[in-house]
């Protein structure tokens, strides 16, 4: 069956709500409006206002309430409209959701799923175009996933609800129109995935940059460089086995990250490769990231600020000079 990434997300939500009466969706405009990006369209009509619950503009409280509801026996899916607004409830996500299990001596599970859209590319300017997945991936106690395919867009939510930990699911509006076949493969929250087999270098990407990495790999193939593409999928915990297996094979790597270069997740991936595969490398690992500027509204400037296929190609070729 061919569906879009948006439809896959919606299907995952509908299945979760249908499967378990403890599941509810809470967030701004998830119900009557149908979700800013129409992801939850139709769910209010199907499951009613208690389980598809519109919330006030109170991110701190409704995310915290999601934690309490999870402790109280529900399985909440809380939507924070975009990662840019997730700075408001960050205290609850870190100081409560992430720490609680450990600091209580293992007494409490927080089976909470927080969904948020992230990334740039639609001329929404500085305050609506940020990427903080890397920040969240820094926090012990949280699991962070970034669906970049139709299957993951559909399946990661269910896997997150079953996980038993607070899981943040990042959704990529840049991919919402992407269409593809939905398979029946089981979705885990453990492994990175090799999206393209290759031999001469490894391009490591996640989320909205995965299609760019694949496009770059095609271009490189045209120039005789056969690149492997690894989709991290799970940003915490990182599946370094898959990454290292690929890098040990290709001996070269480029990390692509939509976050600001300094301190982005790309740095952690590079540090781990240095720690664990230093002697297998034929060249230093390179990276292609967001320029270290707020994203401007003007299209040409926004494009210049973001990772692009040609930049990935150039970085890849650079590894062979």
């Amino acid at each position: 069956m061919t569906i879009t990434y948006r439809e896959a997300l919606r299907m995952g939500l509908r299945e979760a709500l249908a499967r378990d009466p403890r599941v509810l969706l809470v967030g701004e405009d998830v119900g009557r409006y149908g979700g800013t990006y129409a992801v939850s369209k139709g769910l209010l009509e199907e499951f009613g206002p208690d389980r598809v619950r519109d919330a006030p503009l109170s991110e701190l409280a409704f995310v915290g309430a999601g934690i309490g509801a999870a402790l109280g026996g529900l399985k909440p899916i809380v939507e924070v409209m975009t990662v840019n607004f997730s700075l408001l409830p960050l205290d609850q996500i870190v100081n409560t959701a992430a720490l609680l299990r450990h600091m209580s001596g293992g007494q409490f599970a927080v089976p909470l799923v927080i969904r948020m859209s992230t990334g740039a590319g639609r001329q929404l300017a500085a305050q609506h175009s940020q990427s903080f997945e890397g920040w969240y991936a820094h926090v012990p106690g949280l699991k962070i996933v970034a669906p970049a395919t139709i299957d993951d867009a559909h399946g990661m939510l269910g896997a997150a609800l079953a996980d038993g930990n607070p899981v943040l699911v990042f959704e990529y509006p840049a991919l919402f129109e992407m269409a593809g076949d939905l398979s029946t493969a089981a979705i885990d929250l453990a492994r990175a995935a090799v999206r393209r087999q290759g031999t001469r270098l490894t391009i490591i990407a996640y989320g909205g940059c995965v299609p760019k990495a694949l496009a770059a790999a095609e271009k490189l193939a045209g120039e005789g460089i056969n690149a492997e593409v690894v989709d991290l999928r799970v940003l915490r915990p990182l599946d370094m086995d898959t990454v290292l297996a690929s890098v040990r094979k290709t001996r070269r790597a480029v990390v692509v990250d939509e976050g600001w270069r300094s301190g982005s997740l790309s740095a952690e991936v590079m540090a781990r490769i240095m720690e664990q595969a230093f002697y297998d490398l034929d060249a230093p690992v390179a990276r292609v990231c967001r320029e270290e500027v707020p994203i401007p509204y003007a299209k040409h400037l926004e494009e210049a600020a973001l990772p692009q296929v040609d930049k990935i190609v150039a970085a890849a070729k650079g590894l062979f000079q």
């Binding site: 701004e28 519109d54 919330a55 503009l57 300017a125 270290e292 401007p296």
Partner: protein, 331 residues
């Protein structure tokens, strides 16, 4: 759930005809500017988010006419009208919408981030509630520097649910700051009606709970908006913040992406009969302060200004990519 519109504004306008003409013209300037923006959005000249103020013009118009040049204004992402009437030239606003470097934010901000230091227009904030703490700080600066300067902070009804509102109201009242909190209550936060997100939809009750003087005015009546804002300004400059709830209505969808399926069409139609421009025009005509020719003449001047603004934006240049990293930090 329906939000009853107030009776249509009526009766003679208590201003000299020239002042009334300026108010009318400014409402028209906002309206025509935004109608053009909607058209240009369709044409792909403007991108990103675009939030139109159409229907709410009386609020910004009345309020801005009550402010002094030296006052500070902090607004939201629905701020085209506020920027324009604070004095940002229409052509620089339009250039910003285009993303041109002649724009008031050099093309980097777009519709949601209009800024202009010269007119003390501090944006242009796309984080709901994000402007309130800033306004408190402006008030603190004015007070400590001994300046007779109001800071007017515009925000929507939805922002009242944010913790930032609560903390900011308390700080402003506690520190007795010259800040006017102008809440543009259009009864919806995106697709969520106020009674579906506020346990107490009477926003003045909330504001009053901080010991802040709070009152509501008819946001469809530019006269009431002007008088309410002027009164708030007096209260604030006398040394205590004021809160004004402008009861108004958004005629267009929340943004260009909004299918607007959450509102009752009859509700929209009812509020349209209270349109701030046509009701004001009718009142002026009734009292003999405005003729149809004069109206057409004003509208023509406004149309011409809009056309000049479009031409200016079209003729503008793109900021060179080499300047991308400019102004991340002080030199």
């Amino acid at each position: 759930m329906s939000h009853a519109a107030p009776p249509p504004p009526s009766g003679p306008v208590p201003f000299p005809r020239e002042n009334s003409a300026r108010l009318l013209k400014d409402m028209l300037r906002i309206r025509r500017l935004e109608e053009k923006c909607a058209e240009l959005y369709g044409a792909g000249k403007i991108r990103g988010f675009l939030h139109l103020y159409i229907g709410e013009e009386a609020v910004a118009t009345g309020a801005m006419h009550a402010l002094a040049r030296g006052d500070n204004v902090v607004a939201t992402y629905r701020e085209h009208g506020h920027a324009l009437l604070k004095g940002v030239p229409m052509d620089r606003i339009m250039a910003e919408m285009y993303g041109k470097k002649e724009g008031c934010s050099r093309g980097r901000g777009g519709s949601m981030h209009l800024f202009d230091a010269a007119t003390r227009f501090y944006g242009g904030n796309a984080i709901v509630g994000g402007g309130l703490p800033l306004a408190v700080g402006f008030g603190l600066a004015a007070k400590m520097r001994g300046e007779e300067r109001l800071t007017a902070c515009f925000f929507g009804d939805g922002a009242v649910a944010e913790g930032a509102f609560h903390e900011s109201m308390n700080l402003a009242a506690l520190w007795k700051l010259p800040v006017a909190f102008f809440c543009e209550n259009n009864y919806y936060a995106m697709g969520t009606a106020i009674e579906r997100y506020e346990s107490q939809p009477d926003l003045c009750v909330k504001a009053a709970s901080y010991g802040v003087e709070a009152f509501a005015v008819d946001g469809m009546d530019v006269v009431a908006c002007y008088e309410g804002a002027r009164r708030a300004r007096e209260i604030a400059l006398a040394g205590a913040p004021a809160f004004v709830e402008f009861r108004t209505y958004r005629y267009r969808a929340h943004s260009m992406f909004d299918p607007d399926l959450y509102r009752d069409k009859a509700e929209i139609e009812e509020w349209k009969t209270r349109g701030p421009i046509h009701t004001f025009t009718a009142r002026l005509k009734a009292q003999g302060h405005l003729t149809e020719e004069r109206f057409l003449d004003i509208d023509a001047q406004v149309e011409a200004e809009v056309e000049r603004a479009v031409a200016f934006a079209e003729a503008g240049a793109w900021e060179p990519v080499e300047d991308l990293a400019k102004d991340v930090y002080a030199p």
